[in-house]
């Protein structure tokens, strides 16, 4: 049974299995990814990020339903943090999407960050390609939005949706800290709560201050995701943004940048893995530690020598 062929045919057991192999960095996965690559690049990628408690999962659930209404097939990747101590994780996002489980046009996969610092796990990139190759037309990537990690998402998604919510005092601060630049669509969820209008105004003011705005001016939309309010508008705006990206040529630029990032990261990873193997094998510096401690040698010369040795 050829896993790659089954994935291309949309076999769900096979898709799931290949994702697992990619997550575990199994050698078969590396081979499969090469074979699948020609089938990728067709899906449109939507990133969804925001602080904990902003209702991202519910919003994702409703957006998927809206896309389904429009006849689109959808893959969802929901990323939750892994515990830095045990490596374990509770992946709870799909609880909000439980009635999508039986829809054959939807495939949801939960992932733990497994120690990666950005909001996305290392295997997220492979998973996107697998779902893409399996024929899902839209892929939604929902990530934990804390601090700097959101930047990962913009390097991956075609359209990034930034979710905020009234009543989280520090929320706007976090947005100020860096994600104003990455949002293509801003959503103020739970907009029936007190303070929603204030969040909208603050976002608008910050957007206006943002100098490097291109031809796309990010809209700010209000939703009450639990009641399915405002969802149609969010999906409409995403479609509009897609149209903009395509017609302006920006889509190609974004994807180039994404590939460039991915190449950079993968190369770095491979090289650093090779180096660590080599270093642990050959004990390059053990003999020199005493000399460094006794100030007979300085660490900088040792580093240069070691690197020169490896790169030869």
């Amino acid at each position: 049974m050829d896993l790659v062929q089954l994935v291309k045919e949309g076999n769900r057991v096979a898709i799931a299995r290949l994702i697992t192999k990619a997550e575990n960095e199994a050698p078969e996965a590396a081979i499969a990814m090469r074979q699948l690559y020609s089938e990728t690049g067709k899906a449109f990628l939507i990133g969804i990020t925001g602080p904990p408690g902003s209702g991202k999962s519910t919003l994702t659930d409703k957006m998927v339903k809206e896309l389904r209404k429009r006849g689109k097939t959808v893959g969802v990747i929901a990323v939750d943090p892994s515990s830095p101590f045990t490596g374990g994780a509770i992946l709870g996002d799909r609880i909000r999407m439980s009635d999508l489980a039986l829809d054959d046009g939807v495939f949801i996969r939960s992932m733990g960050t497994r120690g990666s610092l950005g909001g996305l796990s290392k295997a997220t990139y492979d998973t996107i390609k697998i779902l893409d190759a399996a024929g899902f037309e839209y892929i939604l990537i929902e990530t934990v939005g804390v601090g700097q990690s959101e930047v990962d998402i913009v390097k991956t998604a075609d359209t990034t949706v930034v979710v905020s919510v009234p009543g989280l005092g520090d929320d706007i601060q976090a947005i100020k800290a860096g994600i104003m630049e990455i949002g293509d669509v801003f959503v103020v969820n739970k907009a029936d709560r007190e303070g929603a209008e204030r969040v909208v105004i603050e976002l608008a003011q910050m957007l206006e201050l943002n100098a490097n705005m291109g031809d796309w001016f990010p809209p700010i939309l209000k939703t009450v995701a639990v009641r399915n309010e405002g969802i149609v508008e969010v999906v409409d705006k995403i479609m509009e943004h897609r149209e903009f990206l395509t017609s302006s040529g920006e889509l190609r630029n974004r994807r180039k940048e994404r590939i460039s990032n991915e190449l950079f990261n993968l190369i770095l990873k491979k090289v650093s893995a090779k180096i660590s193997t080599k270093l642990s094998e050959e004990n390059f510096w053990d003999s020199q530690l005493d000399e460094i401690i006794e100030n007979q040698k300085n660490p900088y010369d040792v580093i240069d020598r070691v690197i020169d040795g490896i790169l030869q």
Binding site: G53, T58, I90, G92, I95, R96, V226
Partner: protein, 563 residues
């Protein structure tokens, strides 16, 4: 409570006592011995316990904080003479399989001297599905009796005169439907609603936070509840319209203080909702009742009940400006703690239940269910239920604790514990107020998280052996699997589904449809829903049909998941 001079002397004595003790410990330490069998002494809920309590620990005003039974703040009980007047209602929660089988169990329990009925419904009934609904597969008649329509309810109470018993029904999301069925059965027996006595649990908030049998979102659910308050005030005046429940909060793993706090916070939300709906506090507050758990830490549990009464009285008087004393009385039902029972050496559970019974009675309960020894294994068999009931009767008739009111009052430890639980509960209530009340706190997952953290902490302590559960993590034996467990006939689901189908075929279909349409418009409007519920009940609309209409109008609750 003591004059200053005496307190000073006690303080001096206490210092000497402590100093002597320290010296003793040092001597032992020098010999490499320990004075105590463990490092930390804690209550069942994990609160630290001092070696000794003295008058120094109950520096409170007797008249304002403890007072007299039957008087504000009701710390010592809601009646002036408590069990010298009459015992609590002995009420065993029961129901399984079909209405016929449950009816037979109720008659048996009444013959055995039980004084009130308590109906357990199966999960499909609790969640508003008929027995033939796909979601009901495997669940029909399992944890309680299956009731699909008035037809089943008639069989359930066949031969039981509703003007002679008081009936408690554990039903929440669809409480108004089952209450309508009950009123309709009464009318068929010639008993008018004003002669009915009983309680519906009707407490949706703890379903969201701890028990899980919700249907609709909070807003329409609160409306159904206040509709019942209003309807019963005028038509079923002896009915307890809600049983605000801490039982399930505790079962889900909370501490004693959390049980009090989260229950009373729910109570505050109901009172607020009713006031916003236009009801005067004194017209409905006297019909509010509560439902607590009784665990093994006897004195902490007694203190918990006393603290709950004191807080509720203060809340009703000070926050809600109730005038009637009855509005300030926290009357409660107790059930012994299901989660304290062990599957290992189940006979030991009889002893646990006896301790918990004492806790409930010393805490001044108005009614009590005692769990049967086999409930960690299956539904209780008839002879286990009898032992559970006998446990109550032994405490009532033989233990002597019922001969005077609130016998533990004035115990330095019990009064200090009562105060501590009160303080901890107030802190939680204030926090929940800050979050915008119980509904908001549940929607944000705050209450669920607090409960789960406590539950996980407890579990870890048991597994680490820091807490001993006799027969489970200490004093284990090799056991044979228990025999004689009660089984629900596996064909029950199929038979009950057939029964509904037959009943439906005999009805006037057009009338049913017309009434369901009327129900739909009532749900969309603002009028009290109870009259149309009653009409639907009498026309043999099924519970599932009624709830489906409400689901359509109200939507369904999707829980926030906290882990």
């Amino acid at each position: 409570m003591y004059d200053k001079e005496k307190l000073e002397k006690i303080k001096q004595d206490n210092r000497n006592y402590e100093a002597d003790w320290e010296k003793g410990v040092e001597k032992l330490a020098a010999k490499g011995k320990k004075g105590e069998r463990k490092d930390k002494f804690v209550t069942g809920s994990g609160a630290s316990v001092n070696q000794l309590y003295t008058p120094l620990d109950i520096d409170i005003d007797y008249r304002s904080e403890i007072g007299f039974p039957g008087q504000y703040p009701f710390t010592r009980g809601v009646q002036p003479n408590m069990y010298r007047g009459r015992f609590w209602t002995m009420r065993q929660y029961a129901g399984f399989s079909s209405a016929e089988e449950s009816n037979a169990r109720y008659k048996y329990l009444l013959e055995q001297g039980q004084t009130g009925l308590s109906v357990a419904f199966d999960l499909p009934t609790q969640i508003g599905y008929d027995s033939d609904h796909p979601m009901s597969e495997g669940e029909v008649g399992k944890v309680g009796v299956a009731i699909d329509s008035l037809a089943d309810m008639e069989i359930l109470f066949n031969g039981i005169p509703l003007d002679k018993v008081s009936t408690s029904m554990t039903i929440n999301a669809p409480a108004s439907v089952l209450l309508a069925f009950y009123i309709a059965v009464g009318e068929k027996q010639g008993v008018t609603p004003d002669k009915l006595n009983g309680t519906i649990q009707n407490d949706i908030l703890k379903e969201y936070s701890a028990r899980g049998t919700y249907i609709f979102p909070p807003t329409p659910s609160m409306r159904l509840i206040t509709d019942i308050f209003d309807f019963c005030t005028r038509n079923v005046p002896n009915w307890n319209t809600i049983s605000i429940s801490g039982y399930h909060i505790r079962e889900a793993g909370s501490t004693a203080s959390q049980e009090v706090a989260f229950t009373l916070a729910d109570g505050i939300a109901y009172v607020n909702a009713a006031i916003i709906a236009g009801l005067d506090v004194d017209t409905f507050a006297g019909r509010l009742s509560f439902f607590f758990n009784a665990h093994n830490d006897l004195l902490e549990e007694v203190a918990k009940f006393r603290a709950a009464r004191r807080i509720w009285a203060k809340l009703m008087k000070e926050r809600f400006k109730a005038k009637s004393e009855r509005s300030m009385m926290l009357r409660f039902h107790t059930q012994t703690g299901g989660s304290t029972l062990t599957a290992q050496q189940p006979d030991n559970n009889i002893v646990r239940v006896a301790i918990q019974t004492l806790a409930a009675v010393l805490g001044g309960t108005q009614s009590l269910h005692t769990n049967s020894k086999d409930e960690a294994l299956a539904l209780p068999a008839e002879d286990s239920v009898r032992i559970a009931l006998r446990t109550q009767q032994i405490v009532a008739y033989e233990s002597g604790v019922t001969e005077t009111v609130d016998p533990l009052a004035g115990s330095y430890y019990v009064e200090a514990l009562t105060k501590r639980i009160e303080d901890e509960a107030w802190a939680y209530i204030n926090k929940i107020d800050e979050l915008g009340g119980a509904v908001k706190a549940i929607e944000q997952g705050y209450i669920q998280k607090e409960i789960q953290d406590a539950a996980y902490e407890y579990q870890k302590e048991v597994e680490a052996g820091k807490r001993v559960v006799v027969g489970m993590n200490k004093f284990q034996i090799k056991e044979k699997p228990p025999q004689g467990l009660l089984r629900v006939d596996p064909s029950m689901g199929f038979l009950q589904a057939k029964k509904v189908a037959e009943m439906k075929s005999k009805r006037d279909g057009n009338m049913v449809q017309a009434i369901l349409d009327e129900l739909r418009s009532a749900a969309k409007g603002n009028d009290n829903m109870m009259p149309i519920m009653l009409k639907a009940a009498k026309a043999y609309c099924t519970e599932g049909e009624i709830c489906d209409v409400l689901r359509e109008v109200f939507g369904e609750y999707t829980p926030i998941q906290v882990l």
